[in-house]
């Protein structure tokens, strides 16, 4: 019997692929920035939240069924995502599915690992009528067309395909899931956040496989008391299954540390990075906010910045990223900093290497300076 080809020439048929974004991750490394929000809803790149990148990539690749696995502090994420309208995922068929951590109501409440989140929502996975699934995490900033990777997955007849990036510079101030491949891109080793003996190929944490295989692996792992998706479900199967890597060659940043977060934001100021991320493979969608355009006032000095709408800028701003509704008063100086939504910088204040979370008020004449490799973080709504 002939198998129906699942992709046609000229492009993979993504109707047959669903996606799961796994938000049940350790997010403590972002310190104050994840004190009140999940990793997925951490603001990034002047007007986005981290989840906008994987979610938009999925939608732009033609995926219309996306499940969001949730674990903790997800109010701000739910507020951001809503019914998925901004990503065109408010659909009658398929669309966006919120997958809450039902296991927290079970008698034995000790959290075992993210496979528990998959297990709690196994009905959703079973019920979805797609044959394939892409599993991703929210903390990788890139603009990836999954169609190419999926095509490779089918053509190479892989069991699991992992999208990876070969790094030119290996950042010591952040952690990675690293992989080693043979000459044919078969993955022969994979390690999560190793302290030494790492590889220069890093996982971009996008895993493609058949839905049935995912269900089998979940069942297999849980029945053996294994609860970690990457370490048990993926690494545990490197020898039993045909696990291959798919190289992604454009810009990608893995957010796994404060410094990585800070540097990746400022990296967006490089035109080639900016173009890779925003002008290729379709737009990055986010929740619209109806802010008026940004006003640059008399005497402003703004250079090398990314700014969202709704800002009012009178002082000096250089090499910085400004989110929406930021006010910079006259005489204030901002350098190499990330200023989140609705923060206000008073007259003659001085900020260098600083991350201000949302709604921070810096009063007049205050001076805050972090280090290039250790930015100072000011928590949400703080008045300094």
């Amino acid at each position: 019997m002939m198998m129906t080809p699942i992709y046609k020439k000229g492009g993979a048929n993504m109707n047959n692929v669903m996606a799961i974004i796994n938000n049940a991750l350790d997010e403590s490394f972002l310190d104050k920035l994840t004190g009140h929000r999940s990793l997925a809803s951490v603001p990034f790149g002047a007007r986005y939240r981290l989840i906008d990148f994987p979610l938009s990539n999925m939608v732009n690749s033609g995926i219309t069924n996306v499940g969001l696995l949730l674990q903790t502090k997800y109010r701000s994420l739910m507020d951001h995502i809503g019914f998925g309208k901004a990503w065109d995922l408010d659909r009658k068929r398929n669309g966006l599915f919120i997958l809450p951590p039902a296991h927290i109501y079970q008698a034995n409440r000790a959290y075992k690992g993210d496979l528990q989140n998959f297990a709690s929502n196994i009905d959703y996975i079973k019920r979805s009528n797609q044959e394939y699934v892409i599993i991703g995490s929210p903390n990788v900033v890139a603009n990836i067309d999954y169609r190419d990777a999926f095509k490779y997955h089918i053509e190479n007849d892989n069991d699991i395909t992992i999208i990876y990036r070969q790094l030119e510079v290996f950042r010591r101030d952040t952690t990675y899931t690293v992989i080693n491949t043979d000459d044919n891109d078969r993955i022969i080793d994979m390690k999560v956040n190793p302290k030494k003996n790492f590889y220069k190929k890093i996982s971009l944490q996008r895993y493609i496989m058949k839905k049935e295989l995912l269900l089998d692996i979940i069942d297999e792992c849980i029945s053996k008391g294994e609860w970690d998706f990457v370490k048990n479900a993926i690494i545990g199967n490197l020898n039993n299954l045909k696990v291959y890597g798919y190289p992604f060659r454009s810009y990608a940043a893995v957010i796994n540390s404060i410094n990585g977060y800070y540097k990746s934001n400022l990296e967006l100021l490089k035109p080639n990075v900016w173009q890779d991320l925003f002008l290729k493979n379709g737009p990055i969608y986010t929740k619209p906010k109806d802010e008026a355009p940004t006003g640059y006032k008399n005497g402003v000095n703004a250079r090398n910045i990314l700014a969202a709408n709704g800002c009012s800028i009178k002082g000096e701003v250089k090499n910085s990223v400004l989110f929406r509704g930021v006010k910079v008063h006259p005489g204030a100086v901002i350098k190499n900093s990330i200023i989140m939504q609705k923060s206000e910088i008073g007259e003659n204040a001085y900020l260098e290497n600083v991350i201000l979370d949302k709604g921070v008020q810096i009063t007049a004449d205050k001076s805050l300076k972090g280090d290039t490799n250790l930015p100072m973080i000011i928590a949400k709504n703080t008045i300094v």
Partner: protein
């Protein structure tokens, strides 16, 4: 259908002839404004902010852009189970059909639509004025005065009264006389084209006018209001104190943009208590390069500034290359200004390409006149390398 106390009918069929190339392909209410918006965003946002959730939009001239822009009305929170926004082009009835002859005729032809909601009051609005106004306050005033008709008015300078419909009022704000563009005005309260009518009366007068007067222009100012005045209906003037602009000409359109700039703009669009909503295109953040020089300007997302921008308003997707200079100008969406180009006192349409080292609006042939001349470039034009478009010219 639940009864609505007041619904709004928004007249959006205007051609905006005096805006020239800016309205070549679109109705005047669809003209872009303020780096992000279109003119119709103002009355639609005012409606939603005033709690008016049933709005009929009367279209006629070049409606395609406007229709798709309004869509389901969700951008203004006007996608409602009951009411919401409804686009109302002229249509054919049992006895035939016709274009909207005038403002009042447009309402007359949609009596069936209004009757669905059985309102007490009908608010008539223009789709092409820029202002922030709470119509709920005007309705309160209307009720307090026990008026049959309330007309929104604003004080204009005495020397400009000849350009407006002037309301002569008594000390109680009751309108005792109406003068259309008078030579010698007795008052300086000008009509803003905003009316609240008791629907029962308006309905009656609209039907009478249509049935009895075959040659009627179907116009509020010429036909309906004079007749109502003659019948001694209670007319009251509701004075509006805020910013209001009819951007009927190229000069006023340019000036209204300059009103958005400065330390404390006369028209503040960043006011979060009265948000002007728009379709809000999804674009990346705005990027200012190391060489960018920006001063006193309003800039939208999706722009890339590598050159100099002063006293200007830039819509989304505009790119200003290195060594290009934009001064005292309005640049509409997705326009590219290549390096070395210089633009002053101009309005540049959407998707325009201004090639390298071009000059627009910098030089004038008329050396004697000090009068400000606005240069206009229409949509989709390509201005060739090193061209020199003199001040006051119109391209397109």
């Amino acid at each position: 259908m639940p009864k609505e106390e007041m619904l709004a009918m928004l007249l959006a069929g205007g051609k905006g002839t005096r805006l020239g190339v800016l309205t070549k392909n679109i109705a005047k209410p669809a003209v872009p404004f303020g780096a992000e918006y279109r003119l119709i965003d103002f009355p639609l946002s005012n409606c939603t902010n005033s709690g008016i959730t049933t709005v009929g939009v009367l279209t006629q001239y070049k409606p395609l852009v406007l229709n798709s822009y309004i869509g389901s009305g969700s951008s203004w929170d006007l996608d409602r189970h009951n009411g919401g926004v409804t686009v109302l082009p002229p249509y054919v009835k049992e006895g035939g059909g016709s274009w909207y002859k005038g403002t009042a005729d447009a309402i007359y032809q949609n009596i069936e639509f209004i009757d669905i909601y059985d309102p007490e009051y009908v608010l008539i609005l223009s789709g092409d004025h820029i202002y922030k106004m709470d119509y709920a306050e005007m309705l309160n005033y209307h009720k307090t005065k026990n008026a049959d008709v309330s007309i929104g008015v604003l004080e204009v300078p005495w020397e400009e009264t000849h350009r407006f419909g002037i309301m002569n009022t008594n000390e109680d704000q009751k309108i005792i006389e109406f003068q259309e563009k008078p030579e010698n005005a007795k008052n300086n309260l000008a009509s803003m084209g905003i009316y609240i009518f008791n629907w029962e009366y308006l309905r009656k007068y609209l039907i009478e006018e249509a049935e009895e007067n075959d040659d009627s222009a179907g116009d509020f100012g010429h036909n309906i209001i004079p007749k109502m005045m003659a019948d001694n209906l209670n007319f009251y003037a509701y004075t509006f104190k805020g910013y209001w602009k009819d951007v009927g000409t190229i000069e006023s359109y340019w000036q209204a943009h300059m009103d958005l700039l400065g330390e404390k703009p006369i028209l503040d669009l960043q006011d979060r208590n009265w948000i002007i909503y728009s379709v809000n295109p999804n674009r990346p953040p705005q990027y200012l390069s190391e060489d960018a020089e920006v001063d006193n300007s309003m800039i939208n997302k999706g722009t890339q500034i590598m050159g100099t921008v002063k006293n200007s308003v830039l819509f989304f997707g505009v790119k200003v290359a290195q060594d290009a200079v934009v001064e005292d100008s309005v640049i509409l969406p997705n326009t590219r200004i290549r390096s070395g180009a210089k633009i002053k006192n101009s309005i540049v349409g959407r998707n325009v390409i201004v090639e390298k080292n071009s000059k627009i609006g910098l030089e004038t042939d008329d050396k004697k006149s000090n009068e400000l001349k606005i240069t206009v470039i229409g949509d989709d034009e390509v201005i060739p390398e090193a061209s020199n478009i003199k001040a006051g010219m119109v391209v397109g």
